[in-house]
């Protein structure tokens, strides 16, 4: 249910109304638009007398939201959300702030990550990404450096000032992620529907959550998973298109669904970024797909960069060298200018 507040209503009266609604066990989201404020009510709104609500002097009108999506819906929050990192670091994400998240698939050593962090920052990245805990299809493959990898990311952050993006697989590690003040916690494509994990990152943290679309996930499922996080209290959700599973597999690892970008931008106020590295599985396709993502309207890209792709412990074939990444950044900037 959506309550449009009349222009000029006093903050005090609005707060009073919010409190009254919360006492009815509803979650209330207040959005201050350019012209008027909106209250979005999540939960069992059957108990609310809509006529009574409409008749309040500060209320303009009341509308039901039969939509499946609630907290994430653009109807609840017509302006694009700008996520200011809870960690206090820069930059913000969404609403014109373009995120460039770069780094290796896996953190492999101090030498690797520190050197790389400098190189990608110089080239123009504004986030450093790297996996410490790795979801691998086979239990016999390298599973990531774990907590030690997290420490190395923190060291790279200290050196460069770049906020960290890294994946959380298991809720038992959430305390550690909070302790290390991870700026953007990634929920990977295999955990998009791990609802208990989603609930906990909703409840326990205000860190930004980068939620990847499932391996063969629908757009609706992606938004419903965002709802799990938001309904539990954390609205700092970034959506990520990362390629979907189709019958085409001879030339690409996944099929990057760039139409998901404008589809999502029409449905939700949350920022949408694109991962062309997993989305294609081929380093040579990453530059053109990065540019296409920008042209499609994405709020950022996430690109795998590795000092020595041929020796990467995971996902080498889809990683750019620092040189190729720097070349791409030049083209990205030129395109972004033309799009603005």
């Amino acid at each position: 249910m959506i309550v449009l507040i009349k222009q000029g209503a006093s903050e005090e009266k609005i707060n009073h109304l919010v409190k009254w609604l919360e006492d009815k066990s509803l979650i209330v989201r207040k959005f201050d638009g350019q012209e008027q404020s909106v209250l979005g009510l999540i939960g069992n709104t059957n108990a609310i007398d809509k006529d009574m609500l409409s008749s309040l002097d500060i209320v303009d009108s009341v509308a039901d939201t039969p939509e499946t999506f609630k907290a994430s819906s653009k109807k609840m929050h017509p302006d694009d959300t700008i996520i200011n990192l809870h960690s206090g670091r820069q930059p913000a994400i969404g609403g014109g702030n373009f995120a460039i998240m770069a780094g290796p698939c896996s953190v492999e050593s101090r030498e690797q990550i520190i050197a790389l962090a400098d190189e990608i920052k110089t080239a123009g990245a504004n986030f450093i990404r790297g996996g410490a805990f790795k979801p691998r299809t086979s239990p016999y493959d390298f599973q990531g450096m774990g907590a030690e990898g997290l420490d190395l990311l923190v060291e790279a952050r200290e050196k460069t000032g770049l906020p960290i993006v890294t994946e959380l697989m298991d809720l038992r590690q959430l305390d550690l992620f909070i302790e290390k003040d991870i700026d953007v916690i990634q929920i990977g494509a295999r955990n998009t529907q791990n609802y208990d994990l989603l609930k906990e990152v909703g409840k326990q943290t205000k860190a930004a959550i980068l939620l990847k679309r499932g391996l063969a996930g629908t757009i609706k499922e992606l938004l419903m998973s965002a709802e799990y996080i938001m309904a539990n209290g954390n609205e700092n959700v970034i959506l990520c298109e990362r390629g979907i599973r189709t019958y085409e597999h001879d030339y690409t690892r996944n099929t990057l669904d760039l139409s998901a970008v404008p589809v999502l931008k029409a449905l939700t106020h949350l920022p949408v970024i694109v991962d062309p590295s997993h989305g294609t599985g081929r380093a040579d396709l990453v530059p053109s797909m990065s540019l296409a993502a920008i042209a499609a309207g994405a709020d950022g890209i996430m690109v795998e960069v590795h000092n020595n792709p041929a020796k990467a412990l995971s996902d080498g074939p889809q990683s750019l060298t620092p040189e190729k990444f720097a070349e791409l950044m030049v083209r990205v900037n030129k395109l972004r200018e033309a799009m603005s």
Copy 2:
């Protein structure tokens, strides 16, 4: 690596060899076939001198296993595995024992589950299934009765003697599942690649694990997820085909991939069952797809039955009434006789 032991080798010498291999940090699986014993070695076998091993007097030959699948591979264990429930209850699963798991999608009340348990047992089911913790796409939908639902399943088990199949979503509930002595712990299609959950049901329990194929999971991924459980110590894994996501959606919820049954039976020694209820999403297709699953060589079926499908809190359209289930059981038995 696979070590074929010579016929007639003494148990003592074999045990000695096993211990020596385990001291090299290998996991050793010993299979006693009808003619000879086989040792399957999992882990870093590079450290093993193959020639030395081959020259031992109790060793017939040594073969590398370049296959991706190790513990689950038919090469490691040529005979079909028969899983005897760790709970001690009957029946066993696999190797000619046909499992018929029936019950509601969700446990909804005592009246529902107790009455239904009696009806499905009378009709011929040998397991009772029902969800207490429910993975729902929307956080605003019914999420299951939780621990209370588990207690009701236990009560139904006490009354009928039927072992329980129920889904575990969150490793924080594993202790409760162990405490309630759940006979078959289901890992649902959204958690097939929740590796931390797989590791824990591998380490902490010997209960049978019913592992569902992912929503759009490959056969290889299903077996690799089984490896996560087995490599961590629990080899009582049952694989479950439950329909895959394809472009066809006008007439079925998923596309039931029955060819997965003979494909899996050729690759692995683990039992394979079929869930035609989720596999099609339509009660009217469940009978023919149950029979087709049997003809395809499945070791069991898992069928949703509900007293009142029209009022089910989840998945009503795919649930059989007890009457339709009883009719199906007559046809199942007739077909199984013809197949034997």
Copy 3:
């Protein structure tokens, strides 16, 4: 629009009504059910006064058919269609007559096809299949023997009495197919939506048409393509499930969608057969999938058999040897008895 005729209405009056409707530019299909006759009207029924029609003394009731499917719909023709071959040869297809179509992917030589025809007949096949004109993905691959292959099939038919199933790719060959009195004309998966070809086999012949589901065709598209044939005058259409394109490709060439069998049987009165050879692409999966097709309710199977699969000019890996085919027939017969 469907017109139910009253029981006991005279043929003369019915014919009179049919002619009147045809004069309104409608195609009229008359079905004589066990209890009453039904007229199915195809075309622009807006011009018909439904009330007037309902008030006729021989008319029981009139119903609109908002369904997409018209001529193929079960609502138009509640009983299963039995197709008696226009060529006059036996057997009929559908309504309890089980078709076993066997033979090589491609006709390769006289020796091959004549010897094979004898072997498959002895084993129990009641149709001989073989490709003379072959749709190959590459223009540089073997394209079939052409007209010469057709002559060899005719020779095999003369020797064994088995009716022929063979593929028509190009409407310029249709005259030849009619001249050779091909019993069952196959429309392959790449031509399921070649509408001009469908129209011509509708107009120019009453031979049975075996219409394959498209490479990644929906069930709706399959039925709409059947409509193209039927609306042009040939109602002898056999539908064929032959596997669909999905993301799973490591272990099977296509994913055989056996649920399409009961789905189609509920929607249409046309016979439905299954091709497990193309449906899986693996000879070792053909037996279990043939049995599963029967259990699912199919009206027949189409199986590739080759004297020497390793040397086949096309589709060797999915062809059974004559010996394996004979073994399968024993199991097929046993299962069919149990299903009856």
Copy 4:
């Protein structure tokens, strides 16, 4: 097989060699690169003595082409092909010439097509597209205006000078298309593997052929179908990505596979264009996907424009109004400048 000719070899000697090779029943393609000439040999090259060929004084080296793709392969023709319309009209396609094909899904009337042709030309389109023969899933739907529609397109061409793009469904219409001097003959997604149609447009015409990727066609199949046309003599093939069939259907009609653009550009020298109208099925997604196609490196776009989308006889929901198309053209031009 590829023969690299030495720099400076005389035309006379090269022609002599070409003739000799053609006498061996090979198709010989001669490409004059910036530095040296290359002969591509298609057909049975087993009969050629490679050593003898290598030893000729005008031959630099000889290489086998184990690749599946021959005539279309970038290895045969390293530079991008520029297709000059056989009709003599402008513009060329490929190699920096950007094609903007616009117009209605179906030609519906003189008023519609003539007015629209003017509007799209003014906005910046350089081709007019429109269907006269329409492949419709249902035989009961509007099937196009046929020959009359073709005449209207010709009239629009006369008035505006824009070359025509229109679909050929049936080889019996090919003479008519040739007679009307259709500039670009489209082979639709349902006929991508209608090999007899492909062969005929290869043999009988040098008009440019716009070959669409199949409804669920692979990239490999698309190129193999191009081979069918090229191996039969017409090398003026334009490839078109138009969205593929995936499980995602709630928000888009197809999934536009933009990664196919750089994949194809790496494999082949043929121009690649993108159809975002069919690729998404939604007019509101067409602008962002058009821009993304350009950023991905496409040689052109094909966009449905209709005076009154709400009343279109086919595909209204995906058609832009002329106004929206003009707005898009402004953004297209700005982006193309930035990309150059």
